[in-house]
């Protein structure tokens, strides 16, 4: 087991911090662009945890998962931005509180 | 293969009928009639060669080879599910009734339906196919499948071509039948599990599942699952409330199918499955069932009397008549069972005819409310005479089929429970009250000046012909019911051994 320059706990702490920031952003931002960006932050937080953990145990799986998350994120952004464009056209706004057609 | 072909004819015929609307809007109904006649002739020609039918050999329930026709092909062997159809006396009667009433229903839809003719006739044929499957399937999984198959096209018939409140009625019909059908599915699966525990392998075949050993408590719950499913369909008190809405809102052909055939699947299920599969539990339960039957007879009759809607009144009269079937089944002796089967056949005709008359009235008057009718005999004497005939049949006039049925049921029940019989025979009086009231409020009384008598056309030859079929059927059933009794006897004689051992006289 190789010794890392940075302890795993620090990495996990950073990853958790990034994830919380992203989640907070998703929860409190109203602009959908910012929500998407916050989601990206959350995804990257997870990726960071994977990479760190992979390095910690000397396994390649961490990097494999990182590549996978990267591709999923790319796909998600593509779909997400498409939706953003549609929302912008339909509602003439990017404020998600305005796009509340699905209320009960 | 005969039985599979029969169902295939109808299923494919439905597709043809749906497509044939491209030719013209009148083609579908002709196609539908042709398909039913074809199926009928096919069945009759195949049956005429059977020795066992001519000799009226009784069929033993647990020996499929003794049945008239038996077909079995593997389907999902891992779970012991197969495509298994069989025909015995009871099934045969029901299948014939279904085909005849199917043709009558097509006739009833002749001018009644004004849009989407093709899809309508297709749904009609698919419903009939489903009902045939129910009457012939003897694999419990397959049975459940057909139970659902007949439900969905019927839902469409009500929901698309029904009257003003069709959505509500169709949904109510669907939910009642579906929910109770799921109870049956659960009970079926549990029964198969119990079977596997004792036999070591799965089987959904009726012939295997008979005589499955099980704990008393288990049998009781499983029996209840089947009972509720079939009594909702029958419908028995207090599960009948879907029926008045569904009947009232359905188009005429739908009501004919619904009252004439679909209700009989409930009765058929009780005779075929509930009692033979769980004889001890059914015996224990018989007093409850008999009480429900009597309650249904009287409750249905009183409520029928209170209605102002022609169709709704007839619908409640069905509730009352179905009570007799429940009595016949749970008295479980030869007389009562014969009466129940007779009631299934006779009620099929008498109610179908009354619904056709109701439909004809609605077509002409654009209302079903009896206070807006009155004195219609004056302008439509033929229809009046027909209504009078079927009203008399429905109140149990001797010499017509319904009397034979009701008398046999009462006679059989009397040997089991005299006091309930006395209560049930009150149905003869209450039946007379609502039936005659129906006649009075619609066809008798002073002719209503608000109805322009000129526009009221009497029955034409198509309608008279359809009515004549049912009149003749009821008269024959009334004065010479022996062929029907003999065919039913093939099933009843042997099935009796399987049920309610304590109730045997």
């Amino acid at each position: 087991m190789n010794e890392l320059a940075v302890p795993l706990n620090h990495l996990l702490f950073l990853s958790g911090l990034l994830f919380s920031i992203g989640m907070l952003g998703v929860m409190i931002r109203r602009n959908i662009i910012f929500i998407l960006m916050s989601i990206e932050v959350m995804l990257n937080a997870c990726a960071l945890a994977f990479v760190g953990a992979g390095a910690h145990w000397g396994q390649p799986d961490g990097q494999v998962m990182y590549v996978m998350i990267l591709s999923i994120a790319a796909a998600e952004v593509a779909v997400g931005l498409g939706l953003v464009l549609q929302i912008q056209r339909r509602f003439k706004t990017l404020d998600m509180d305005q796009a509340n057609r699905m209320r009960g | 293969m005969v039985l599979v072909n029969l169902i295939l004819i109808l299923l494919l015929g439905g597709v043809v009928a749906a497509v044939s609307e491209r030719v013209s809007s009148t083609t579908p109904r002709q196609v539908a009639l042709l398909v039913i006649v074809l199926a009928f002739l096919y069945l009759v020609s195949e049956l005429s060669g059977l020795d066992s039918l001519n000799q009226l050999q009784p069929s033993t329930p647990n020996d499929p080879n003794s049945w008239l026709i038996h077909f079995k092909a593997s389907w999902i062997p891992a779970f012991g599910i197969s495509i298994e159809f069989a025909l015995d006396g009871l099934s045969l009667l029901m299948v014939l009734l279904t085909l005849v009433l199917g043709a009558i229903a097509v006739s009833a839809s002749w001018t009644d339906i004004t849009e989407r003719h093709g899809f309508f006739e297709a749904n009609l044929l698919w419903t009939i196919a489903g009902v045939l499957g129910v009457f012939m399937a003897l694999d419990l999984f397959l049975f459940f499948l057909f139970w659902e198959v007949m439900l969905i096209p019927m839902y469409f018939l009500i929901a698309i071509w029904g009257h003003e409140n069709r959505g509500y009625a169709a949904m109510k019909f669907f939910i009642f039948t579906q929910a109770s059908g799921l109870l049956m599915l659960v009970a079926t699966l549990a029964l198969v599990a119990v079977y596997r525990d004792s036999m070591g392998h799965y089987s959904f075949s009726y012939f295997d599942l008979l005589n499955t050993p099980m704990a008393k408590n288990t049998a009781w719950w499983l029996m209840l699952g089947f009972f509720v499913a079939f009594v909702v369909k029958l419908p028995g008190f207090p599960f009948h409330t879907w029926l008045p809405d569904a009947h009232t809102q359905a188009p005429t052909a739908g009501s004919v199918i619904l009252a004439g055939i679909l209700l009989k699947t409930g009765a058929y299920g009780l005779i075929r499955f509930t009692v033979p599969l769980f004889p001890d539990a059914a015996l224990e339960f018989s007093n409850v069932a008999l009480t429900l039957g009597v309650a249904g007879i009287i409750y249905g009759a009183v409520l029928a009397f209170g209605q102002t809607d022609f169709k709704r009144l007839v619908a409640y009269s069905s509730v009352s008549h179905m009570g007799f079937i429940l009595l016949g089944v749970y008295a479980w002796n030869e007389l009562a069972l014969q009466g129940a089967v007779m009631q299934m056949v006779a009620h099929g005709f008498s109610t179908a005819a009354l619904f056709m008359i109701a439909g004809s009235l609605q077509e002409r008057l654009h209302t079903r409310e009896m206070p807006k009718m009155s004195g219609l005999w004056q302008s439509m004497p033929r229809m009046g005479a027909m209504a009078m005939f079927f009203v008399l049949a429905s109140l149990g006039l001797p010499g017509l089929g319904n009397f034979v049925a009701e008398f046999l049921v009462l006679l059989g029940l009397f040997q089991v429970n005299p006091w309930l019989t006395v209560l049930a025979s009150m149905g003869l009086i209450t039946g007379a009250i609502y039936s005659l009231m129906l006649m009075q409020r619609s066809f008798q009384g002073e002719p209503n000046p608000q109805l322009e008598t000129k526009t009221l056309t009497d029955f034409g030859s198509r309608e008279l012909l359809t009515m004549a079929v049912m009149v003749i059927a009821l008269v024959v059933l009334g004065i010479y019911p022996q062929p029907v009794l003999d065919i039913a006897q093939m099933t009843i004689a042997s099935t009796l051994k399987f049920g309610l051992p304590g109730a045997m006289p």
Binding site: M27, R103 | T241, V302, L392, L408, F414, G445, P481
Partner: protein, 615 residues
Amino acid sequence: MTDYIWLIPILPLISSITLMLGSAYLGRSVIATLGVGSVGLAAVLTGALAYNFLHAPEPIHVVYWTWMQVGQFDPSIAFYFDGLTLVMMSVITGVGFLIHLFSSEFMEHDNSYARYFAYLNMFVAAMLILVLADNLLLMYLGWEGVGTCSYLLVGFWYQHSANGRAARKAFIVTRIGDTAMAIGLLVLFTELGTLNIQDLVAAAQAKWQVGDVIPLLICVLLLAGAAGKSAQLPLHTWLPDAMAGPTPVSALIHAATMVTAGVYLIARTHGLFLLSPDAMTVVAVVGLLTSLVAAFTALAQHDIKRILAYSTISQIGYMFLALGVGAWTAGVFHLMTHAFFKALLFLGSGAIIHCLHHEHDIFKMGGLRSRMPVTFWSFLIGSAALAALPLTSGFFSKDLILLQAYQQANIGPLLWVGGLGGALLTAIYSFRLVFIVFFGHANTSPDREIGWRMAIPLILLCALSLIGGYFSLPVEKVFPIDDNQHPDQWVELVSISIPIFGVFLAYLLFLGRQLDPGFLIESASGRWLKQFWYSGWKIDRLYDLALVNPYYWIATIARNEPVDKFYQSIVITNQTLNAALSKMQTGRMRGYIVSMVIGLIGFLGLSLFFVAGAV
């Protein structure tokens, strides 16, 4: 020789069906020929049958086919013909033919001529099946069949809802009795294993002792059926209302034939009744009470047909009295003579109504003696027979009943006194009718005299009413021979003189006016009594309050389906839950995310707490 017996009921049936199918295409003369001719032909065949039977009086039993066979239960479509059947068939086809002939003129201008004869022929067919049936189930077929035809004919003029009401009442009230009878059939079959009348009487006599409980039960149930059909207490209320039908119908169905079906039933099953002396006593008491109640009611009526209707109820009460005291032959004898003279009276009243523009109120008639001579004489003869004046047919039969009632073992003299009271009242009300309608001032004038098709039946029935008492019934093999001693001379003398006294009283009261009961009628209690009798002892009112109104009330309350309220409550619960839960769907994405996060944190926290142990 008797192969054609099936033709007798079939002929009117075929005619009826033809008339129904062809009503739109047949001319009036064809309709009349078919309708009257078929019954006439049946009468001729019955005559031939009677000729054979009187020469070789052996019962005939013909089985056509097994109706239904289920296990032990195998009633047949089969006819049994003996002396009793012959009497009934002769009355049905003979009197029936005369009434059909009368109808062909009476109904001539009605729009539904064919429908009328179709129903009437159907009735004759059903009635013949009733009396020919060899088993009780087939008899029940005829029994319900005649009830149905009665319903159809009472409500013949369906345009008036009052007629429909009367028809329904007739059907439903008799159905109550019929249902009791059906239960009786269930008991009979369950106990004896057969419904064949001859077999079951033999089996019953082998199985039970005189005085057993089950025969009593069966007899009471059969009696209820008979009481419904024959309009006896307490099921008699339908008959006066049934007069809403055309008058010849009242003559045929509600006087001569159908209403005597109950008498026939009891006479036919007398072997059962002999097993239960208590039931016999009940029959006698019901008959006597009915005859008295109806006679008082008849005294207060204004409507000519209602008077005759109550008189019919009263006379059938006499027949029941006869059956109850074991005077089977006398009961059937009175059935026959009553058929003659009551048909005569009804047809006579029909002639009056026909010629007086449908006037029913006797106080609006008067003085018709000279203007309608045929009708007057037939009415006079009919009333004399009804009042049982000596040498008329009614005298012989009623006298026989009274004398045998006197000899009944327990309460004989009491029954005799009651019967005499009834006879006195009968004489008074029947001659009240004659004196008011045919004598005194003319209040309306007839616009025509009757034609030959109405006159001939009247004349023939007059003859029958006069000589009918000399017929001897070929029933000695049907009924046990009664070996009664002839009672004392004075009993007979009193029985004979009471009706004469009654007629004299009626003369004093209604024609000579020597007696003026005005002070009695005008007194408060007198007026109340008159009203009480006029309303038929308020029995209708009682039934309305006790049965009819509650039934309407229940039906009105229940018509919106109380059971469905339960299912509705499920629906309402779901809808309420739905409304509450859907408020949480705000449509704001942030809200959803916050709740997701809260849920996630909560879930993770819980799983840490439980899975990983205390954190």
